[in-house]
């Protein structure tokens, strides 16, 4: 197993290099560059533009730029400097605890989704084709099909225009109310954080709920029709024990690998919601670098997300081997 993990980890390096080369090429294909906006500013002369081009290295050919960037990583562990902030790429992406907040927000949302979806999936499977099963499926799909940004906006509008939360001194969007942003940690501040996080849980959670619920339902239904379940029932075990002790334990395996696969989603995957709910996430910083064509920040972001994707896949495989004794890697 250890050899397998080491081998998979080593495979990541050439993969990441190919990813970086492809991404670098894709960025070049995008029309214009960081300075295109400046070209449309009447106050900036051609001379200044040429100077800026040279300073940012945008006048050099694609392969030269890629090589310089790549060399910087190998020789100095330097992933480049942001054109916009004139600061290192990962500082620009992660500053102000963005990475931490991204993980806190995503983990708590995931917890919310899983804690709701798994029991509901089980309930749905054991009440197959009953009105309650249909109702759960209906709401699951409703959550899946309503666009996140729209749901988030409607939710905030509801809080402001219908509930008038402002009159109770509560804010919407962001992590804290104005008075708490700079305050030191206290229970009141924590409570305020929760007040700002629940819309994110609801919006992101409901969109992921349907998939998970249906997976759990389908998987459990498959398992419930297997012979050992029939045997268990025939032995006279109570339905409770049959379902929870025998069926669910086996039915949950495919979901465990989904858990590993959702690791990359922890750092990416809720951009639009983060923008509407004004949450500080790495993705928002990445998105703004895309808008500004801040090349090296884009590269840094892509590498970071790719790394998480590869790690997530690896983790999924390991988890699967761990929960399912039938699977062995050699």
């Amino acid at each position: 197993m250890l050899a397998y993990i080491v081998r998979r980890t080593l495979y990541m390096l050439p993969l990441l290099i190919i990813v970086s080369l492809l991404s670098f090429a894709l960025i070049q294909i995008m029309p214009g560059d960081y300075l295109t906006r400046a070209k449309f500013n009447p106050q900036i002369t051609q001379k200044t533009l040429a100077q800026m081009e040279a300073r940012y290295g945008l006048d050099k050919p694609f392969l030269t730029r890629y090589w310089l960037w790549f060399k910087g990583i190998i020789t100095r562990a330097d992933f480049g400097t942001s054109f916009e902030t004139n600061r290192p790429v990962f500082f620009t992406l992660f500053m102000g605890g963005r990475l931490m907040w991204t993980i806190i927000i995503s983990l708590s949302t995931m917890l919310f989704t899983w804690l709701l979806a798994i029991p509901l999936g089980i309930y749905s499977a054991t009440h197959q084709y009953k009105p309650s099963d249909h109702t759960l499926t209906f709401f699951g799909f409703l959550g899946l099909s309503v666009p996140n940004f729209f749901f988030a906006l409607v939710l905030l509008w509801f809080l402001v225009a219908v509930c008038h939360v402002g009159q109770h001194g509560l804010g919407v969007g962001g992590l804290f109310d104005n008075r708490f942003v700079e305050a030191s940690w206290s229970f009141a501040k924590l409570g305020n954080l929760l007040w700002h996080l629940w819309p994110a849980w609801l919006v992101i959670g409901t969109s992921g709920m349907a998939g998970l619920l249906r997976y759990m339902r389908g998987s459990l239904l498959d398992t419930l029709s297997l012979q050992y379940v029939q045997t268990a029932r025939a032995k006279g075990l109570s339905e409770r024990i049959v379902v929870y002790k025998h069926a669910v334990r086996n039915a949950i395996n495919p979901l465990v690998s989904m858990l590993g696969m959702s690791l990359p989603g922890l750092v990416s995957g809720s951009l639009v919601t983060a923008i509407v709910l004004n949450l500080p996430t790495v993705e928002r910083a990445f998105f703004s670098s895309l808008q500004m064509q801040d090349d090296y920040v884009i590269m840094g972001g892509l590498l970071f997300f790719s790394l998480f994707l590869l790690l997530g896949n690896l983790l999924a495989d390991i988890l699967l081997a761990w929960v399912d004794p039938r699977i062995r890697y050699s």
């Binding site: 029309p31 295109t36 919407v172």
Partner: protein
Amino acid sequence: MKRSLLVLLGALLVFSAVGLAQGYDKMPADAVIVPLGVAGTAYENLQPGVRGGTFYISDISNPKKWNLVTAHETSTSEYGYQMFRGMTDINPVSGALVAELAKSWDISDDGLTLTFHLRQGLKWSDGVPFTADDVVFTFNDLYFNDDVETDTRDILTLPDGSFPVVTKVDDYTVQVQLSQIFRPILNSIGASIMPKHKLAQYVHKLNPDVPAGTFNGTWGLDTDPAELCGMGPFIVQSYTPDQNVVMVRNPYYYHYDENGTQLPYIDKYVTLVVASQDVSLLKFRNGEINALGIRPSDVPILKSEEATKDFTVILGEGGYGTLWISFNYDVDNANLKTLFRDLRFRKAVAHAMDKQTIIDNLYNGLAVPQWAQISMPSPFYPGRDYYGGPITEKDAVTYEYDLNKANALLDEIGIKDTNGDGIREFADGTPVEFELNTNAGNTLREGFCLIMQEDLAKIGIKADFNPIDFNTLVNKLFGSTTEAVVLGLTGGDEPNGGANVYKSDGGLHFWHYSAGTGDINEVEKQMDDLYNQAVSTFDNEKAFELYKQSDILFATESLGMINSVNQQFTYAIYNNVGNGNIASVNATPSGTNGLGWDLVYLK
């Protein structure tokens, strides 16, 4: 009555005692006294306020650095404009050029030597005295230093390519020597002054120990805000990415009101970073922010809540932006090239532009027709009667919406619908058809294109509307490969900011680039001449007349860009904000130009 007066006096005494206890600096000899509420001044509609409180506004993006010299965009520079001041500035109410760090200036008889007399006794926000050394450092070692990346260098460059020579006469006198008379320099020499005692160490030229280019990374987002210091009303205190920027008052700010109260009135100025304008609107309605620049589509919602929620929607005059359609004189297609170069065609398009529909449908009625190139808030706007005068539109060149006139002009050119399909044809039988581009995603411009497309169809012209990515469009413009485009430009108070557009050899003379390489026409020659004359005098009245001539000429004889409408300034502010009525395009409490923030107070 007497008792309440006594209470008031007592309160005043307590306040001033608190003031002394907190160590407010004593008023410098050359402090700026703002005549709030004094009749006959630009400030007569404002009133003296009280100190204290926190003011909240929102901005759509994060700052990128704290260094104003190297800043490239407004969400960065708006903080710089609070922290720093220049020798001259714009009056937030009237838009006129006023003395700021300089208390006055003289212009020599030949117009080539400007002498600035600096205010004495002023201090940087860290208590270090401000002197001429800071001014000389800022210009010679920052703005004019090729090692420093700055957008300001270009506007400080004289037409012959040289820089003004800035020298120190004594601690409080600075001399600026010009190689030629250049009126806009009075405005651009008002560029923000930086603290030498803090920044000189990062300039390679002055400190060879640091590598070249070090200054460009100085005062970045990783700098401890305690390091920052400036001359403006507020200094950045803390920054939480994607959440907020907190600014606090500068204890040494040199502006006072008539009562001797040191400005700014507000203790803290907090800018929330809110990425979505819809959420900003919700936050305003929820009472989390005090003031908000709004879109035309927000006005109906806010108007309906105005009475119950105790805020006011301010509807002002037109802003700095423009929206126009332009035809490329250098297009490859020979038929189109002849047509686009025909003034009668461009006039026909102007007559076919239904401005009222554009205003009603796209702007909810919150826009005004635009005819001139120079921005409406500028004191040089040709709709005024004299420099800085009221807008009367006495000399406006207008093209009323009249399809008959448009059709008559096209008939006169000789393009007629010969095959009866509703589209006119050229002499060789090909239909009059061209591609109309704008940048995809800008709903106002896309809406304008659709209205134009419909109106052009009514006069037998087929415009194929194709919105494309902004960067692709800019590259097409510079490559002179567009046929027709709809775009906008941002203007400013100084009309010469547009020289790059209107002069025949300008880098943004995109409808006729070949003019720069010899294919120049009579009108362009006259335009060049007027723009050159208008900068070679320090007489604003004279410059005003010259710019007026240039705009009338452009609107009657050139129409290189055919103007449409100008969005009105719209703003919402809670009624507990004092002097909120200062809000205008020039001065908004949440604006990016940094004017007037120090006058706002909380009731």
